[in-house]
């Protein structure tokens, strides 16, 4: 069974967002997403210091099955990307919520986070998709 940690915020397009102590937002894809994509083979990251806007494409994750867009959960500036994924994209499958994070955003308006789904709301989205 896929995990849906309570401390994260989610998009129905299967990204998660975590507000860090310094006010930045870390982004990745959910356990459910990595399970349905299968082995991840390549992640196309947004450029460092580029602007991303909420619910717009910020990158692409390529798995053995398909290429999928990654949407930014909030607007802001990309302040870090997970360079480990370049050599070892399989980390996304092994650790979707920790070592498999994609990028980090310095948000321009952190209030946007309140429009995201809670863990239980997102879990419902996944269950509906599976049926």
């Amino acid at each position: 069974m896929a995990e849906f940690p309570d401390n994260l915020h989610y998009l129905d397009s299967h990204e998660w967002a975590r507000v860090e102590d310094d006010g930045t937002v870390t982004v990745g894809i959910s356990d459910h997403a990595q399970e349905s994509l299968g082995d991840v083979v390549f992640v196309e990251m947004p450029e460092l210091n580029s602007e991303v806007s909420a619910k717009n494409e910020a990158g692409v994750v390529e798995s053995v099955k398909a290429a999928s867009d990654i949407y930014a959960p909030v607007s802001g500036t990309v302040s870090a990307v997970n360079e480990q994924l370049e050599e070892a994209p399989e980390i996304v499958n092994d650790s979707p919520y920790d070592d498999g994070w994609f990028f980090n955003i310095t948000p321009s308006n952190l209030d946007e986070i309140s429009s995201l789904l809670t863990a239980s709301e997102y879990q419902k989205v996944c269950e509906e998709e599976d049926h």
Binding site: G38, D39, V41, F42, V60, E62, V64, K65, A67
Partner: protein, 363 residues
């Protein structure tokens, strides 16, 4: 609910992700598709391919019948058990299916694709009418493919002594009966291995015995990347009823001299203008089916199958193009990436084997 092979419950036990494949509930993977792929390249894996269609052909005119419906020359089969890979063409010379046919004591044993089953059976039935030739579908048999450098040893370890002798006697691309099992040294991975057609209950037992000697279950996902690395076509992706075998890298399987098979007349008029080529991308990214292919700045065709190659660590593809040139590129999400133009196969027996594309005499 789709059709289920006799191994359905065993797939569930092994943690399979089951998906619909042409009306069958088949295992896509048992966890990691890439690990399954490596298991076949490095050790041994077992695939349930019982969804494929087996047809037994017997009767005095069986050879004449196959001479008529196959683009390859059935008279090439001289030694008992030997296998032939062939296209079956329609009257326009386009590919209706690709198949394998074995010479057996009672006639021939043919294996065709699952998605084309009905079309093939109707076509074969229609063209055997009036001939002394009987077609019987063997849907009572399951098929296990055991592939990889250790595959033959692992199978030999777990089968009865009489079948061990049969396996030991097989040459590459040859099969033989061992009681009610047909064991063939063939496959769809570019590795050594066996394909075994056998009754469902026996298949279940063999599956369990193979898993107990560390043969890994492998799903259709890895089957696709293995066959692509091996440069083997997938019907429906790399060829179909809109292309000729010459446009599908199958020229060596078309024998024209002294023949009169369905589709030959059309092929004599035109072989078609396109080619199925191999592509290798050295930059990061994944080539996928239907991405457009460019030669300099002109669009010359599209990818028919593409994937990340676990063995090579980069992306490979088959593409159908109308021109070849030194400056090939593929467009991925609006951006052009350079690719190498190569002649498949990409990988054989665990090793990189592809060469730069050069024109072949038959093309």
């Amino acid at each position: 609910m789709g059709h289920r092979t006799p191994l359905y419950a065993l797939h569930q036990d092994a943690g399979a992700k089951l998906v619909d494949f042409a009306g069958w509930d088949m295992p896509l993977n048992y966890g990691s598709q890439i690990e399954e792929h490596h298991a076949v390249r490095r050790n041994a894996g077992v695939f349930d391919v019982s969804h494929m269609t087996i047809i037994e052909i017997s009767g005095r005119e069986s050879q004449a019948f196959l001479d008529k419906v196959l683009a390859n020359d059935i008279s090439r089969l001289k030694e008992s058990g030997k296998a032939l890979y062939s296209a079956m063409l329609d009257s326009q010379g386009h590919v209706m299916d690709d198949l394998i046919v074995y010479l057996v004591p009672t006639g021939y044993l043919m294996v065709v694709n699952c998605a084309t089953r009905e079309k093939d059976l109707n076509w074969l039935q229609q063209h055997s009418e009036g001939m002394d030739c009987v077609l019987v579908e063997r849907d009572d048999l399951a098929i296990l493919a055991i592939q990889g450098p250790d595959a033959i040893d692992r199978v030999t370890e777990v089968v009865e002594a009489d079948c061990q002798l049969v396996i030991g006697s097989l040459k590459v691309f040859q099969g033989a009966w061992c009681e009610d099992w047909f064991i063939a040294r063939t496959g769809y991975t570019g590795e050594e291995g066996l394909e075994i057609m056998l009754p469902g209950d026996a298949a279940k037992e063999l599956w369990q015995r193979l898993l107990s000697v560390d043969v890994k279950p492998v799903g259709l996902g890895a089957r696709d990347t293995l066959r692509l690395e091996a440069g083997m076509n997938l019907y429906g992706n790399d060829m179909d009823e809109t292309v000729s075998p010459y446009e599908s890298n199958m020229a060596t399987t078309v024998v024209v001299e002294g023949r009169d098979f369905i589709g030959l007349e059309a092929l004599r008029e035109t072989k078609g203008n396109r080619k199925l080529v191999g592509l290798v991308m050295n930059e990061k990214g994944v080539l996928r089916a239907h991405y457009p292919v460019f030669c300099d700045d002109r669009e010359v065709g599209e990818i028919t199958s593409g994937a990340h190659s676990p063995t090579l660590g980069r992306s490979i593809a088959l593409a159908r193009v109308d021109t070849v040139c030194g400056n090939f590129g593929v467009e991925i999400r609006g951006k052009r990436f350079p690719v190498e133009l190569v002649r498949p196969p990409f990988v054989r027996n665990g090793k990189q084997v592809y060469r730069a594309w050069k024109k072949n005499k038959q093309e």
